[in-house]
């Protein structure tokens, strides 16, 4: 299911959020700041919130 995920750019180091579904077909992504394709999905935003609450 598509969810908002936290992505980290492996080039400039910035974090940003984007819709992502690990099970769906991949699409080309790039960092909104430096346009690099080295962007890594870290975790979905909900899990961050859960961690913060926990």
């Amino acid at each position: 299911m598509e969810k908002m995920w936290v992505f980290k750019c492996q080039r400039c180091g910035c974090d940003y959020q984007e819709v992502y579904d690990p099970k769906a077909a991949l699409r080309e992504r790039s960092c909104p700041q430096c346009r690099s394709n080295s962007v890594r999905p870290l975790h979905d935003v909900d899990s961050t919130k859960r961690q913060a609450k926990g």
Partner: protein, 605 residues
Amino acid sequence: MMDAGRHPLIKLMSYSEIEDVNGYVGNFKVTVRKKARYVDETVCNSCGECEKVCPAIHPDEFQMGLATRKAVHLPFPQAVPSAYLINMENCLGTNPIACGKCAEVCEKNAINYDMQDEIVVLDIGAIVVATGIDVYDPTQQDEYGYTRFQNVITSMEFERLICAGGPTVGHLVRPGDHTTPLRIGFIQCVGSRSLRDGAGFCSNICCMNTVKDTLLIRDHYPDAECSVFYIDIRAFGKGFEDLYDKSREAGVKYIRGIPGEITEDPATGNLRMVVENTTTRSIEEHEFDMIVLSVGVRPRADGGDIRRHLTLSQTSDGFLMEAHPKLKPVDAPTRGVYIAGCAEAPKDVKESVTQASAAAARAGVLLNAGKVTVEAITCTIDNDLCHGCGACEKVCPYGAITVDKGAKTAAVVEAACAGCGTCGSACRFDAITMRHFTDAQIVAQVDALLAERQSGKVIVFACNWCSYAGGDTAGTSRMLYPASNRLIRTMCSGRISEEFVLRAFRKGAPIVLVSGCHFADCHYIDANRQTVKRVYRLWKQLEKLGIRTERLQLEWISAAEGPKFQKTMREMEELRAQVTQEEIDHTVKVLTEQFEKRRLKKVRS
């Protein structure tokens, strides 16, 4: 269509759908569902008696809902075969028979309510995909009031209204009150060239279609005034500019500007709009009797099925992708499959016919030759090593591998294999060898590049078609990039296995870059999606081992992107300069330990 229908060597299967496609070039097995027409097409002589007595009336899809048809109907006047069919969703019922009037009047006894769908399996040598397009539905652009205002119609509906075979027998009337409109406005680019409406592309055909429509109106109704609101008129192609000039000379007004909103005068049904004329830089108000939305085109909504059956690729716009835009414009990436018409991109009739002729000729060449020449870069499978896990079968973009899980073996159809090497990277048992790009050859390149001065080098894995060619573009354009970047070429980035990357780090590489084609450009359908998955896994693995994930980079560079290649190489050099010798030593130590552990485990097992 008539010629095709009568040709002794052409078997026309209308009202049919592809269920499945198996096999490979020259040996396709195509399963076709021939839908039940409930009328025997070999007997029906299209007398039309059944249609006269049928009581079930429904909107006629061919006439864009501007006329009606019966449940038993001829799909369109020139349909081939010229035989009626019953739409069972519209019929009053056959179990039990609720009406049966069509069967009663049919002198040829062609009506058969018990007819069932027929599954036909065909042996096919080559396939031409000409599945066409869908037309944009402007309902979602509420500002134009389509479906809210009766006198706002689409260009497709206009085609039916002005057509001699249309619902009004060619008399142009506005749907609101059936009077002849004398002030007609055309709005261009509705659903085209706008990312907001889901299509950034130009639909190619709408400008000239509008020019033709305005000329028809001026010819049939000399008193009618036509105004066209446009972004820019794209009248390219033979004779198109002349036609555009002719339209202007005929008195059609071309106003550069797209209206923001259409409002309706409820009393008269007339339509008003305000538009900024960007040529005169003035705000203008216009009133029309009828407005035609020149709607764009869309890839077919059911295009995914045909793509899946034939392992085809699509562009970012959703149209089918050709094997090569210049050298193989009608070939699909799958051998033995060709593309024609708007399935590939929006195009007019002339271009569609040209492409269809080319596709037929390409298919003819293939079939007449009776054999295919394949590149030597294909995979081979050693079944002594194969465990039948099916990983290769899963990642092969061409469906060229079949796995027998029971026998723990796999087989590759070399005629279908295109040589991307994705299977070789996915195989955990070293059972797959990619000819000319073997593991040993690539590992030897990694080792040779990192034999000395490792800390001063960046290992760049580049795919043959795009990234490596991007490097060539940069080189031929005299774009300097740091000499620390050392390239290893593979046919596809999908060939770059996790082991190659880890080996480079283990041998002391400070930075490794994996590069390939942009998603829409992948020469092996979607093999580079496996590259992404692999890089994601590697980042996770590096993080677990305490290695900075930033040292593994990923970039999509096309063959034309020389500047991007140069920029990326410079950035890699900057990243390399930030990697310390201690960091490299730590990486080498950690990865060597991990490698030894795995090796011992493998030996023991």
